[in-house]
Symmetry: D2
């Protein structure tokens, strides 16, 4: 049984496991104040070309989003997201449990548009409604699409004009930045957003997300919020080691590129079999559409997520590739589809 | 300047003012434990034909909704409402601030349907999403429509089947129950819902809503929640006096009926002038559509709410009648529209 | 049966009832934006000699405290209060339910001291603990004592030095300001505090507290918070009418002074009978100590609160006077004590 | 520089690192539903002799406490803890941020007593105060002391009688259970508590705590709460692997015993030098008292926490041993103290 179920099916990149092993008996201080975390922070600030940023390491994506949003907003302030956004659907109300409404827009290809942001702000006119104060976007999105630089520029300008913070969820940022057609770089993000996070969990770390705070107004007391939301790891060095390793010799981008290449090969192979897709993803998630019978057949050999019903007899499923995917696994999958 | 802006422009029904005056120097215990509150509770339980219900008095609608929802739900549980629902739009995130997500459905004529409820529940499959646990409806709705008995029966059955609480916001319940075409009575509500509130503020009280808890599972410690959310009035007797008076000699229904009759007269008068409406309201809110020029003209003599843009040159406005509306005010308004 | 149970046993001052009656059919806009609220705000700003203050009207004390604290603090920030403080003991966790810890100090005569504040701040050294950011005091206190001007000056200076907001709960501010020995005036408060509220409920209003925001940093979007916490009264004019009336011809201070004089007479009468007191209160709450047998005897004719056990056979009870207390009621109570 | 600063200075037990290494490329499902987690759950249920318990794996202690308390309590319910309790002092208000008040008792030797619990419950008489519903204890405590079986029996009986849940924070449970004088076993805990957690972070895991839910009333939907509070690790197997390893061949107890033996040797060595202690700890935290000059001298060679001021010239410091402490490190420390 081969799993294309998600991009966190295996442990970690061998480079990471190696350093964890080598440093296992070193003594460090706790809670992210150690030298490894310092080193990782320096490397990330270098990679994003923003020496003034604050970088914090958290354990997972829901935690990063919850901590950031509850740190940035007052209780009557709300965050705008696309309907399919992770914070809106897949975090069990983690945002609402800290008191904030998620205002949704329909989106286009899984992405928020500047025009939709403007609409939401215009509809919230007084103190009987929540006050939109932040925009949440993901790159890549939940359906594998990516933002162009121009789209981000427009959203960023719109947010600045309307007094909104722009926050980018980078759970799959590596995949977005190394996708075919992408024209955004790590160093664009500090200029365009107020805060963002760089995802480790879905790109070869055991766990961990690096939150980058760019806007000085959002930096104060952030460590209090990390602690309060259960995100301050005692052995914080584990995060430092992982991110220092990911940001050495471009490992972060190389790992993501590998996942994308596997996905591109799969996409091409499936398309050649005549398979159609729910969304035109250029990243490591692919959403092909099959009949129920085909899905049942594929499930005998492969693990994957059922994503959305298309009609009475068709559904989209998700194949997810990762840093750990082997080319022969893709070959086997394409072969299996050919034999359907 | 005559105001049709809302149904809380004046003070209170003279009958209420009279009892407040007469009892002003009586000494009572505080916090809703006095004889007037007891009397009001008894009268309400009689009116709804449900001696086993618990009745609590709160100060306003947002407070009633917030207190009930936070009392009924665990932190990962969510409430389903129509998109235009008061809790979703006009309570400044009062539900989210106590930790709960509002899941929305499109609705039909401003009303939630059983089929839509089922859809939401089916889409929430696991612990990565919130758990729908409650349905919120308003009767009359935000656009003045009312639920039929059959619609309520269907929703109620659906909720029971799916393990959801059904809660009815009765801010304008009086108006709904006395509307033309209504076939629901006060005594249907305990059978169909788990909890509901009977609105005083918008039906002739200075303030106050009577929360009725029918489902025994929802009754425990409710007074703690009232206190915690700032709803426990020191001079609780003010609420008892008002509701005891409203539920004497059918004053509650008579006051609402008067408002509806004024609205019906207005609706008929405007229709005769060829005016069209945004929604077919049978209650005390009417939403006629005018040109911008007409709206500007009407605003010289009357106060009203601008409700929604219809097209570049047309908008719907809201005229609200109440227990205090005088027939000649309706005549003047119709006359003014005729002269447009 | 005569009640000395609290200072909210009766309705409202006749002057207030009169204006409510006279204005009952006037039409006003809702939510505190009417002319009466404007008038009341102007009168209060005049009385406190602080034209730049923002004044908001809320319904009760718990609501005022909850709304202010949740408006002023970020989620990791805490408020310092005396152990007996209302927010710590008698608000059912209304502060914690909005996410904030109440840090307590022992106090002296029911009052927080500058030295105790300093101690708490020094003990909170890093992000593993909450961050003290606000001091909560009440004048008069829960045991009827009052702050001297010098004490307030010291606390205020200490808060400024340590970067803490100072907030004063004035549920019984009228009683404090008219107490024998008091040297604080309404116009001292804007200079000494960042925010405070002037209590109406316990000084002759049907309900209502006037929140005064002095520090500009605390003013932004406060109406959103009022709405979110269920404190925005539809018929907001009721609050405007009451406070405009209280602040006409010094009614606010006169009503409180009457309550204090009744309490002073009672205190003197009891002392002459040899009764001792739990605290040396100069305001409208008196805490005499009796044997259990005496308490049982008194309870046959009078209502009062049992306050605290003193020893196996003695307890302190509370007699509360108010604007509505009649001199002959005091005489009867003293007489009853004499006959014990 | 040798660190006795805490018990999380190093990575993980070699046995754990070994399994992480061996399984690195295995594919598993996410979120704790994999075979390793199943295996770990089975081993823990075996070790506690409670097959009906639910076992969940979380990432850290603050997160475990926050998730449990917010899962178990309604919003007006409070948790009783000793003043020095971790949830009261060192979690940045993580409990309050989910809405719950922490009610404190003075404790005795760092431990809550049944009598103190009873006192708190008796003082909370009505809905104007929070409702005590849960008792939080830690074993070992913050000052290294341990509960006797009799103490736990008394607390447990008291909680059952008063309708309170009993929850045990086992961040250092291994150390408590292997301490000299301890008469509590893992299998006592399901009988005595409603829920508890077994700490991995401070006993040789990279991270991780195993929450054990015994009371069926507390089990429902717990995974929703884990997710909502950011505790659902994508690569959940990391937790399964670690706890399965810890509960193989008694590694959990052996690792803790080693730490205790190092601490006992240190305690004995220091006592022989005439050093006195702030508390009589039998576990892996020792709190010797030194002069400021001595502390400065020790700090040249060793890392440790300053704990509490004793007088103008003396302070208690904390030496913490762990699974990774080497006997020669203890020797060096004793030698250094001898040379002071």
């Amino acid at each position: 049984m081969i799993s294309f179920r998600n991009d966190y099916s295996e442990g970690a990149l061998p480079e990471i496991m190696q350093v964890l092993h080598e440093t296992n008996f070193d003594q460090t201080v706790g809670y992210g104040l150690d030298e490894w975390c310092d080193k990782a922070r320096a490397k990330i600030k270098d990679a994003i070309a923003c020496p003034s940023a604050d970088v914090h390491f958290l354990l997972g994506g829901t935690q990063a989003n919850q901590t950031c949003i509850s740190a940035f907003l007052r209780s009557h302030e709300a965050v705008i997201a696309v309907e399919t956004g992770h914070i809106n659907v897949h975090e069990t109300g983690a945002i609402e449990t800290t008191g904030h409404k998620v205002l949704t827009v329909m989106g286009k290809d899984g992405k928020v548009t500047a025009a939709q942001i403007r609409c939401v702000v215009e509809a919230h006119t007084d103190e009987h409604m929540v006050k939109p104060k932040m925009v949440y976007i993901s790159d890549s999105t939940e359906i594998g699409t990516i933002y162009t630089l121009q789209e981000l520029e427009e959203i960023s300008a719109c947010c600045k004009e309307l007094g909104l913070y722009l926050y980018l969820d980078g759970a799959r940022l590596g995949s977005a930045l190394t996708a075919e057609g992408n024209d955004v770089t790590l160093s664009d993000l500090p200029r365009l957003t107020d805060a963002f996070y760089i995802g480790g969990t879905k790109n070869g770390a055991l766990f961990g997300e690096a939150v980058v705070l760019v806007n000085p107004a959002l930096k104060e007391d952030f460590r209090y919020l990390i602690k309060q939301h259960g995100g301050m790891l005692a052995k914080g060095r584990l995060l430092g080691i992982q991110f220092a390793t990911l940001f050495t010799d471009d490992l972060f981008l190389r790992a993501a590129k590998h996942a994308n290449e596997c996905a591109a090969k799969l996409k091409k192979g499936l398309a050649e079999c005549g398979v159609t897709f729910m969304a035109d993803s250029v990243t490591n998630q692919q959403f092909p559409i099959f009949t129920e019978a085909q899905i049942a057949k594929l499930a005998e050999e492969f693990m994957f997520e059922r994503w959305a019903n298309v009609d009475a007899d068709h559904a989209a499923i998700r194949f997810c590739t990762s840093w750990a995917t082997k080319e022969e696994q893709i070959d086997m999958l394409i072969q299996a589809v050919k034999s359907l």
